[in-house]
């Protein structure tokens, strides 16, 4: 059974309470249709389980299959420099159907970023390194496609629907 490497830490983007008993980590790609399908289901899971769950997103852009996957991941990390990772994350999935090179700046404006700073950040090595570190962590953790989910550091063999089912059952 594959496990998460490295463990969740403060360098991750974490949504939810640190006191949560269940940590879900998703490895995803902003251009992957299956990840876009998972996006609202994760929101539902977060609503249904509230403080019991914390959600972490790591980048796993399939650059050869998806030309905008890597730039989109950079955009999310660049937004994170202004404390708006999740706003960009949500906007990217909600606008996946119209991903293009021009979209990132438009979304940056929509979510209220300083656009000039955002554009600079996209080019920074540290931003690129974060995306690559996430990818390597996925390779190490046995990611075998996107999205891949880990529940409390153990790979979950199934998609978002199965994940929701499993959580509901274990809560009963």
């Amino acid at each position: 059974m594959s496990t998460l490497k490295p463990e969740v830490s403060s360098s991750d983007h974490i949504e939810g309470s640190d006191a949560a008993s269940i940590t879900i980590v998703e490895f995803g790609d902003y251009q992957c249709p299956h990840c876009a399908h998972a996006y609202p289901i994760i929101k539902e899971i977060e609503q249904a389980f509230g403080d019991q769950i914390r959600f972490v997103f790591r980048h796993f852009p399939l650059q050869e299959s998806h030309e905008f996957a890597f730039p989109a991941a950079l955009a999310a990390e660049a937004a994170a420099m202004q404390g708006k990772f999740w706003e960009m994350h949500d906007a990217l999935f909600e606008n996946q159907y119209r991903l293009s090179d021009d979209l990132f700046e438009e979304l940056a404006e929509t979510i209220g970023l300083d656009v000039e700073q955002f554009q600079k950040a996209i080019l920074e090595d540290a931003v690129k390194q974060k995306v690559e570190d996430d990818f390597e962590s996925g390779v190490r953790s046995g990611v075998n496609g996107t999205p891949s989910f880990y529940v409390n550091e153990t790979k979950f063999d199934g998609g978002p629907d199965e994940l929701f089912e499993m959580l509901k059952e274990s809560a009963e």
């Binding site: 790609d29 992957c32 050869e64 990818f135 390597e136 390779v139 046995g142 990611v143 075998n144 496609g145």
Partner: protein, 153 residues
Amino acid sequence: MLEKGTTAPDFQLNATPDQKIKLSDFKGKNVILAFYPADWSPVCGDQMALYNEMLKYFSKHDAQMIGISVDSAWCHNAFQQDRKLHFPLLADFEPKGEVSKAYGVYDDEVGESKRALYVIDQEGKIAWSYLSPTAVNPGADGILNALEELEKK
């Protein structure tokens, strides 16, 4: 499947309609053999697409990735172009499945290779192997661990 430490059976298969590749061509390099059932799996990031994204991690360990299935060289050609794959796919096509059988990973019932991985060391010996359930894409963590073990030697 073949035991760790045994010599990997040599083979020669078509990589393109007019080019053949021999396992022994790679002596002095580590080789990863990824047997898989068929080209054109209908998912994002299927096993071959995934390895394609990870080639730089394999080359860090001086390892050559090679995919093998019973699809023909023409089929591989089209698949490779469509998915922009940067490593060879070999056609275990004629006699069908011969190499897969030599490595103990042929599924007689469906007439396809099973989903199986071999890491072969620089001397051509089997260093690690893994048979995955056909429906489960095994990822690459096992391969990387095996390559790291080889480096420790």
